[in-house]
Symmetry: C2
DNA sequence: CCGTATCCTCAGGGATACTG
DNA sequence: CAGTATCCCTGAGGATACGG
């Protein structure tokens, strides 16, 4: 039985990375966590332009489930929660850096 | 007048890159064009899983407008159109490669 | 301060048909 | 074969309010 003909053999690693990284907010969060660590929820919200409460929450939770970020909750009142990159998350930094320098290179003006 | 406090100074290059690259399909297209060049419309469609006619068209057009890909139309019947990366597009390949190897590293089967 | 739930809107994008 | 147009629907995500 002939499967669908596909000319690129091993797309899986790339697609896996995409599944982690893609979406409107994930990379912005990772970028910020690469710059300031650890960072509190409200600072993330302030620094990510246009993100809503709900989106930030869900995105953070997803990244946490993928073991990209670490959630550290301080048992105090008022609550304080800090986020940081896991080692797996830190290993994404080269990609972020590459995107940065590409942007510097090609962003006219 | 105090502008919104922001703790990461120069996000623009990164955001620019994101604006080019983000979306559900852009990077997949670029990835394929990095693997097989030049490539015809129908082969792209076959190799990009689940993309619709309409999406592929619009994404290709957007990438062309950003000077990431090149559209080469052969004046014959039936029509033949080939796409390839521009130099600007090729300069994205390091990012794609970085994503590939990250995926290889971290994708537990 | 941080997170979740609920509701509701609206535009991204799918299905389909048509053209050169 | 490659691309456009039209219609239409669905679900991502915004606004809001409440809870720990």
């Amino acid at each position: 039985m002939q499967e669908k003909m596909c000319f690129v053999s091993n797309k899986e690693p790339f697609e896996y990375t995409l599944s982690i990284i893609s979406g409107k907010w994930k990379l912005k969060i990772i970028y910020l966590l690469a710059c300031i660590t650890p960072v509190r929820y409200n600072m993330l919200k302030k620094d990510i332009d246009g993100i809503t409460h709900k989106m930030l929450s869900t995105q953070l939770k997803e990244l946490e489930q993928e073991d990209i970020i670490l959630r550290n909750e301080y048992p105090q009142v008022p609550p304080k929660v800090e986020y940081s990159l896991t080692p797996k998350g830190e290993s994404l930094i080269p990609i972020v850096m590459a995107m940065c320098s590409w942007g510097k290179e090609h962003n006219r003006k």
